[in-house]
Amino acid sequence: MSNPVTAAVLFAAPILVAVLFWLLGWRERRVAGDAAAPSFVERNGRLVATYLFVAVAFWALFMIVWPLLYMVDYSFHRKLPPSRRGGPDDVYTLENYWYFVYGSTRVFTSYNWVHINAFWQTIAVSVVVTVANFALCYPLAYYMAQVARPGRLRVLLLLLIVPYWVNEILRAFAFMVLFGTGGTINKILLALGLISAPIDFIGQNVALYAGLTYAYLLLMVFPLYNAIESLDHNQIEAARDLGAPWWHIHLFVVMPFAKPGIASGCTLVFMLSAGALAAPLVLGGPKTLWFTPIVYDRFYQAFNWQQGSAYAIILLLTCVVFVMLMMRLFKVSLSEITR
């Protein structure tokens, strides 16, 4: 790293976080007072406990916390040739963030509309994709959880899961084949005489939205399925018996009950859509502006890792804040989602 102090902080921070959490857990056990309960080590044996602790700690620190901290650190630095790193020019700066807003690190007269538009468009389309995904998955999940017989359920699950054995990028290409101007859908529509000229699904972003919706279908279906499955079927019948029409039952009995599942499904789909890279690259039209390819270009076309980091962090923070706001709006707590 650039200077020894930063490096020390970066190394120490994850360890400090881990120790802090351990202390919190220890305190909670003290306060809860269940002294007779066997400790983690006692329950699992010294060897297994050590392995688990080391494995989880390694995974969490080296795969998640550390890279993220590095990115945060990077984002506040200038891009400098190696010879000048650690020198007097290598100071903390907001330059990379200014670049996102103004398209320049020095001149703040005009805004960087291309990137800002792409950014908000990505967020907006991700919201649309999430809503579409929910609209698609809710009936399916409800059918699987409350209506389907076990045999039918197994077939459905298989039909849902098997396509995901295919690589994500290959699936995106498959959508291109489907939606291309000479693709299957256009051929069918032309053959049926419904259209006279092929529709440019890719240029209109239809292929992209469809591809994104399909890509994270399972991440919506399963949380919904889990939540709805735990609803006592008698409650649905009770509502019906009390005179409720079907939509009322869904809106006021099933959905409030499934709210944690809905929240976790929507969060996953929204986060992953906003961060999707393969689908926009493959299915995006020539005019499509998606934010993730821009971030990618910052890293690998402009070779400006510092700026790329800043862009990635802007996307990440915005998504987190947005999800938090939504959760506050719909009165869902974080602990409910992770249940």
């Binding site: 019948e237 018996d241 009390l242 009995v253």
Partner: protein
């Protein structure tokens, strides 16, 4: 306000399994009617058919004279109280009670007023703001009743709602339910496998077995005049002694059993030469006085003291257990276990039923 419910030769099949066979019933408006039977006898199936969640394979259901064919549960004048109550856990007590009204477009203030009124009716005043999870079992029970009554059903259907309560509360709720029914005056159809519940609460009872309604009558009729061996054995305690019917006259029948020839009232299908069973209630047995001809003899195994009465469990010579219940006022001394005891039965309280007969139509 109330409506009569009529089942006309209702048969319900699931695939090859027939859950209810040609059941016909006429339940009068305002009646407290129980369907009594062991689990799996088809009583819940019948209830779900009345409420509209199941449709009869054959026959028809009429409520207030109107054929219910193709009328969905949400359009029927019935309300069902589920065995597990199925209260909405995320709603308050008042919201639960007001749900049916909310569906009907009743305003918030009116819903609140109705909820308070109904909570008063089920003796839970000022509990409307609580969550369902904050209530005890008996309170949840009352909320479920209030929720069902809120939509002003003509018929209230109850699917063993008391089975989850402890004994004391169950007994209390029996009286309570009966009182609520009297107050609102609507038809109650109550499902239970507990004959004590059925006997204490109901105006009339239908006893079901294997999808067939075996007998319909008041509690007294069913207890004193069972028409089938199943009813005799299922409703109340009974000692059934099988044998062959020897001779019958207008009112009584004699049956040859391994214990000798015993005499009882002439029951359904009793005719000389047929296989039959004499059913003798434990309370109509007593210890023979000196010099009296005993009906049967058995060895005392154990006794159970129950305050007002003592139960004597005896083993007959063929290994059969015979139960006798004696009021403690009449029982001078309890014999010691192992003693051989001579018993007499009251022929007017015993009944001889044919067991090889076709099931008589209910």
């Amino acid at each position: 306000m109330s409506a009569d419910v009529e089942l006309d030769r209702v048969t319900i099949r699931f695939g090859h399994f027939t859950a209810v066979k040609t059941a016909s019933l006429k339940i009068a408006g305002g009646e407290f009617f129980s369907l009594l039977g062991p689990s799996g006898c088809g009583k819940t199936t019948l209830l779900r058919t009345i409420s509209g969640f199941l449709h009869p394979s054959e026959g028809s259901v009429r409520i207030g004279g109107e054929d219910m064919r193709r009328i969905e549960p949400n359009k029927r004048p019935t309300a069902l109280i589920f065995q597990n109550l199925a209260l909405f856990p995320l709603m308050t007590v008042a919201e639960n009670i007001g749900y049916g009204l909310r569906v009907r477009g009743v305003g918030r203030a009116e819903r609140k007023r109705r909820a308070e009124e109904l909570l008063g009716l089920v003796a839970l005043p000022d509990q409307g703001h609580k969550l369902v999870s904050e209530l005890s079992g008996g309170q949840k029970q009352r909320v479920a009743i209030a929720r069902a009554l809120a939509v002003e059903p003509k018929v209230l259907l109850l699917d063993e709602p008391l089975s989850a309560l402890d004994l004391k509360l169950r007994q209390h709720m029996r009286t309570e339910l009966r009182a609520i029914q009297k107050r609102v005056g609507i038809t109650f159809i109550y499902i239970t496998h507990d004959q004590g519940e059925a006997l204490t609460m109901s105006d009339r009872i239908a006893v079901m077995n294997h999808g067939v309604i075996e007998q319909v009558g008041t509690g007294r009729e069913i207890y004193a005049h069972p028409r089938t061996p199943f009813v005799a054995a299922f409703v109340g305690e009974n000692n059934g002694l099988p044998g062959q019917i020897a001779k019958v006259d207008a009112a009584s029948a004699a049956i040859d059993t391994p214990f000798g020839t015993l005499v009882g009232r002439r029951g359904e299908g009793a005719a000389p030469g047929r296989a039959g069973t004499i059913f003798i209630r434990p309370e109509s047995l007593r210890i023979a006085a000196a010099g009296e001809t005993p009906s049967l003899e058995a060895e005392l195994v154990t006794t159970a003291y129950e305050g007002s009465a003592t139960h004597l469990f005896l083993r007959a010579d063929d290994g059969r257990t015979i139960t006798m219940t004696a009021s403690n006022r009449d029982l001078a001394a309890v014999p010691a276990p192992g003693a051989r005891i001579a018993l007499v039965h009251d022929a007017a309280e015993a009944i001889v039923l044919a067991t090889d007969a076709e099931r008589p139509p209910a």
